[in-house]
Every structure is written in C-alpha cells, then in structure tokens.
Symmetry: C2
Subunit: 342 residues, 2 copies
Amino acid sequence: MTEGGRGMNTDPVLVEVVRGGFVESRHRGAVAVVNARGQVVLSVGDAARLVYPRSATKPVQALQLIESGAADALGLSPADLSLAQASHGGEPVHVQRVQAWLDRLGLGTENLICGAHWPTTEAAARALVRDGGAPSRAHNNCSGKHCGFLTTARHLGEPLAGYGDRDHPVQRRWRDALAELGDHPLDAAPEGIDGCGIPVIAMPLQALALAFARIADPSREAAARQAAMRRLTDAVWQAPHLIAGQGRLCSALAGRAPGRVLAKVGAEGVYAAALPALGLGVALKVEDGAVRAAETALVAVLARLGALDAADLEALAPWSRRGVTTWAGAEVGTIRPADALI
Amino acid sequence: MTEGGRGMNTDPVLVEVVRGGFVESRHRGAVAVVNARGQVVLSVGDAARLVYPRSATKPVQALQLIESGAADALGLSPADLSLAQASHGGEPVHVQRVQAWLDRLGLGTENLICGAHWPTTEAAARALVRDGGAPSRAHNNCSGKHCGFLTTARHLGEPLAGYGDRDHPVQRRWRDALAELGDHPLDAAPEGIDGCGIPVIAMPLQALALAFARIADPSREAAARQAAMRRLTDAVWQAPHLIAGQGRLCSALAGRAPGRVLAKVGAEGVYAAALPALGLGVALKVEDGAVRAAETALVAVLARLGALDAADLEALAPWSRRGVTTWAGAEVGTIRPADALI
C-alpha cells in the first residue's frame, strides 16, 4: 500500500470548527501555490504529498475536447464547455443541457458509464422527487465531462464503448496532459477508480498546483494549447452556473471574479484554482476529505494571496464567514481558517 | 479560546479511506475505554482531550425522566424511552410517536425549541417531499429528547418556557449527572449551544467513557439511579429502531447485541458505548468530525475488545467492511480502521 506522499508527515490544522468557547473539530491538510515556472511561492504542510486530484482534473480532462477539434465540429457553446468541466448539481439547467448534448451526438444516457445519483443541489433533488422522477445518469455530477469524452472519441473515430477504460485514448490523453502540465511523470503513480467509473491517478499536490498555474498563465504553452486553455477558462467565466450550481463555491467564485479566479473542487477535500492576474496555481487537500474545510481553506488562501479583496469576501460570505448555526437558525459558532492559513 | 484538551497533541490516524492502491484520506482521533472504577483500560491518542459529547449525552440527559418519576406518571413505554435518548431519522415511526407524546402532554410542536430539519433517513425525507409536506420540529432528530425535557419539567412543576436555557433545572440536572458520572467537575468547562438549541459542555474523553462504563456496570450506583440506568438501556434494546433508524449503526448495534452493546452517536465525530458484559465504557472523537470515521472506529474498537464477535461483524458488514463504491455500484476501495485501532 502506497502511503500518501513522503511517509507519515503530519500536516497542520488548516480549518477549525468553533462552537461557543471551544474548538470542537479540526481539519488538517496541505496547500501548494506555484507559478507557471514551477516555483513554489507558498506552501503549508507537505506540498509534495501525493493526492488524487479527483474532479479538480476536469479542466485538464476537457483540453482534448478543444485540441482535437471535436468542440468546434459539434458547435459546443461556452455553456457546454463549462459543463464539460463541471461537478454539477443536477439542476434542470445542467441535466437538460446534457440531454441536448447527447441528442446532438445521436446518443443517450445509456452511453454514459457514470452511474446515476440524486442531484446534489437539494432543491433539484426535491423537485425530482415531487415530480415522481428518479435520477438518471444525466443527473450524475460528472455527466458533462462524460459527454466531452464521448464527443472527442466520436470525433476522432475512437470506440465509444469502453471510453472510461484506463487505456482508452480519451483517458490516456488527459493523463498525458496532466503529467506534462504538472511536469511530473505519472507512469508509476498509484491509481484507482473515481466515483464516475474513470481512472484517478495520484500526483504531488504541487504538481497539481503547477498544472493550474499554467492554466492561469498559458503564455509559455504551444499556441493550440494556449487557445484551448483560454477558451475553457473563458467558458466557465461566461457560464459560471454550469460548472457547479446553486450555493456552490466554484460557481460563486467564477461569477464574482471572472478573469481572476477559476476554481475547481475535487471529491475528498481537494480544491485547485488558477489565478490569471497573479499567474499562480493553487492546490490543496484536506487530509480527512471534508468539503467544508476545503472551501474555507481555499477562500482563505485566495484572500491571503490578494486574489480576493474585501468586497469579494463580503460577496462570498457563506464561505468567507461561515457560521455554525442551530436548526432554529441561531449562529452559535464559526468555521474559520486556522493560524497556518492566515 | 480554549484549545481542545492538553494543547496541540496530534492524535493518530484512526481510519483510512482507501481507493485503489492508495490511502486517499485519513481521519485522526482519540479513543478511551474505561471501567466503572475509572481505570483506563485502553486509550488511543489523547484520552484526556476535551470534547463536546453532543448527542452522546442523551442517555444521561434522560436519567431525570425516570429518576423524577415523570416517565411513570405519564406511562412512558420502552419505545418512548428509547426515543428520549434518540438521534432519530425523522421516519414516520419516530415523528408519530413524538406527536402522540406531545398530545399526551397537552402540548404541540410549537413547545419544542429544537427547530425543524428534513428527516435524516433519506427514504423518509423523500416520502415527505412526495406528500407535499415540510419538516416540523417533530422531525428534528432530537425531538424525543426534548419531549423528555418537557415531561420532566411539567412533572416537577418547573416552567416549560425556557426549558432549553442553561440554568433551567432540566439542563442543570443532566449537567450535574454528567459531572457526577464522569467524575469530573464541569463548572468551568467550555460551553456552547448544540444544534437543537440546548447547552453543550466540554469534558475529557475519558470522563465520557467513565459515564458510559457506569451505565454498563451500575452496580455501585444508588438504587434509584441503578434502576433508571437499567430501564433506559433495556428500553433501547427493546426498541432499537427508535434510538436512530433505518441504516443507522446505533440501531443496528442495539438490534444485534441487546444486553451487550448500547452505543450512542454524537455530532462532529463522537461515539460512546456501554458494554455491560465487559463492564466497560467507550468514548471516541474523530478530530475532523466525520461520521463515517466515528462509525468505523467504534466497530473496530468493539471488535478489539471482544464485544462483537465474527458473526456480529458479518451482520454489521455495512460498517465493519465498508466499501468505497462508484455511482454505478462497483467496489473500488474501502474505509478501514488504521493500525492504531487494530
């Protein structure tokens, strides 16, 4: 069994959950902030720690959709391209766009391997229940990414069946892009299977940050990649709701700071972000996998780097000043960045 | 700000989340196992760490219901007494019993201060949505406990209004019982407000374990307390579904091991258990507050102590051999106890 990163280093507390006069829970983790030349400009904890990036790789997984010409051939819009990078909430706006996309391909949800789950946006889940419906694979938070895989495979004449297999070209292609952008070989890296059925691969946190730094500042990339990167980030800023949804930090950041912050969550406490104005990439992993901590930590890091100003933080209050409340609505505590982050 | 326990000791990893060939996430924490004389027979991490017991105090909070005579005066059944100690799933069987209890008191859900939330049992939440309903305070996972408070206050002629206030007798009474059973003064302990609006108070993990050891082996307690403890634990074993619900470890343990294991979950990664056959109490806290880790850790500790045998563990497979699965249902990993627990 491969241990995460370089042995058993203990990462510092990134986020504290405070109730009344007491820190009730703590979340540890590591943060890497890197520029496009691979220099670590800030690290907290073990920046070399191996992590599965999970859905934080989606912007890299979508590159092939542009670079292959598949996006243009199918006439994909910015909203489609945002959805291709999404961990979406399964809201009607997400699901209908996935279904329309599959229609254009002459395919159906049965071609998606991602499995079905209830919408993660609670209001959407309740509406589906009220309508007597059940979730389809289009409701899966990764369904847009899977449409992207199918679109690329179809465009390049690759088999659609088995598109999620480790050695299918659409999987090899993003793994190669990730290794290149992270400047880190992935041939011998620990691997597993993601919740949506495609491979996941472990890489150092700082390599993930480097990949996002190069998305933030693609000036050294080949012209085609540069264009693909800019088109994908612009798509998220033009259609921020498509990358996540209602009440979600990825959408809130893209909506608040278009051109400045492109952030992507990954399961099990991962967040990555590209900061074009600063030419920096950020990656963080909460040791225990908690979303609440990854969100709080990301906002704190962006504030510390100056990527978010006071007005931004005010607009992002659900994440920047996160309360612990009773069921009756009284605020009785806070979830806050710990000393290591501020 | 009071730090948890004796400074910044780092607790060991209790639980690992494995995906493919890689430990993806880790949960740290502490465990204390104590006998009824207060001797620590097993500890992992810092057993003296201060924790909010949260809902793990419910068996202690319910003592006054018996000791005051209120339970007998109202003719409460074992099912009611299990519900009085519950963090229930808001299933019809829980909610209807709470409503019937309030009816007997001549009160309504407006007398509960616990706030409303959707049932935590997913099927119950969906059924409520399908019926066009909305959650009431009776659906709150703590509503049975609140019925207990109201019943005791009414029986003793104490005001019903303000029954959740720090200095109301029903709150002082359980705090006093907890200090006594844990053999630890709570007068100067850090305090806060729980999700259901009543006070929470911090105590050393091993003091919480001692309280449960004395529930496991009440032979040294005064006769009235001994009887109250036995009646409350018997109630849970007679009505295991009432203390939690469908798919919940507290109910599964009480149903599988009546007379042997009485376990009670608390929010933010707490679990406590009384083991009568061994005369032991167990308390654990997962540093980051994760339920999945608290459940996995508890089952591992109970197995290590011999409180659960191989057949029990098989019957408790959803917790003792917990898989990480894709949305399509493939098992691609595991959530398992770490070396510190086995």
